[in-house]
Symmetry: C2
Subunit: 232 residues, 2 copies
């Protein structure tokens, strides 16, 4: 068992909250649970109970926790298999083109789940979605969302021909409040600093109007507003 | 000149973007500009030009920049006087009760500005709003927004009797999409982890509906959605 790196076939949930989400939502992916000797009795009992019921191995190993967790107050770690899912063809999707910030992606996944968007397409190159920092920022929501990777947006389109594509751009042609919403849809957002390039304007392009005193909205804010409006 | 701490009467802009915002929006607060010898010619010329026109002192001091800036690629620092403003009585306000995360507050200020909310009330205790991390996360937007501090929400109310108060809570009585919007208004949000306590339900309380698979929306996302709707 090693400190996390993106080439491993498994990753870690650090701390109680994401580990409980893992155990509740994706039992089949759990390889092992690591407990600290400092864990409180009631929490320990809860975790061991779930493990026993589901034939999940658990061990005590403070050295390991110390090695993989950065924060001191981490008393449990879940080891889980990275697994890529197939997106649901009849459901709406969020599409992130080249996302680069781990905290943002985690917050975005949490927001998606809250608004019933449960399918996330990532267009590569992209940040490592399975990094424990993403898992933590998602507060474990990542275990309730289907995630798939694509080498290009064209490749994504080829697989999901029936989706209504909405591309969010600073020079989008339709204001968010005037957009006609069709289902299933794919809401497409660009990289945090560059946005989507001009080639995306040919789709149903959407702008969230704001004044010119800021360059752009933060991407998690922009996605939050869009998901809210599309499910309002 | 010292490393930043909250008891100083001045703070720093670290890097080009926030320093330009400071120079463009709040010249009267600038005490001095510190340049690195590594700065590029064109940027240096621009800054020195603004300084000369406005009688602002500038010096070269790489040691100082090294001391106050954490990132290596910081080639300019602005030193500015902390100043608290009076909020505009006839304009709408955002009210943050006990905010505790610097990055969040910076992103919130940037979002406010984009949606023309230019008055921010902070109910203490709160994070240090003038910390360079907040300035950076706001991308300099902080210099375009009036900010005032209050010891309690009651004290804020006493000063702004004419404002229509909307309190955002998980158990708010009105759904965001059904809220009747009156002006000027005050949109009130609680601490990132605790939210607003029950005493706030007696105002026009608002909920942003989301499913129960997440505990709550991230506060910057919730504020973004609310500001969007209130200015839609």
């Amino acid at each position: 068992m090693k400190k996390y790196n993106k080439d491993l076939s498994y990753s870690y949930t650090l701390g109680l909250f994401p580990t409980f989400e893992l155990l509740n939502k994706k039992k089949s992916l759990v390889k092992k649970i690591i407990l600290s000797n400092k864990i409180t009795e009631d929490v320990k009992d809860k975790i061991i109970n779930i493990c026993n019921k589901n034939n999940i191995k658990y061990i005590y190993d403070d050295n390991f926790i110390c090695k993989v967790a950065e924060k001191e107050n981490c008393y449990v770690v879940g080891i889980f298999e990275k697994k890529i899912n197939i997106l649901e063809d009849d459901k709406s999707h969020l599409v992130l083109v080249n996302p680069s910030n781990m905290g943002n992606v985690g917050t975005i996944i949490r927001t998606m789940l809250g608004f019933n968007y449960r399918n996330l397409a990532i267009i590569k190159p992209a940040v490592d979605i399975f990094n424990p920092k993403v898992i933590r920022a998602s507060m474990g929501s990542i275990f309730s969302v289907n995630i798939a990777f694509f080498d290009s947006f064209a490749e994504y389109l080829k697989e999901y021909k029936n989706h209504n594509i909405y591309t969010f751009m600073l020079d989008g042609k339709n204001k968010l409040k005037d957009v006609k919403i069709n289902y299933p849809n794919s809401l497409v957002f660009g990289n945090e600093s560059r946005g989507l390039d001009k080639s995306y304007i040919k789709y149903n392009s959407v702008v969230i109007p704001h004044n010119d005193e800021i360059d752009s909205l933060n991407i998690t804010v922009a996605i939050g507003i869009s998901l809210y409006k599309f499910t309002e």
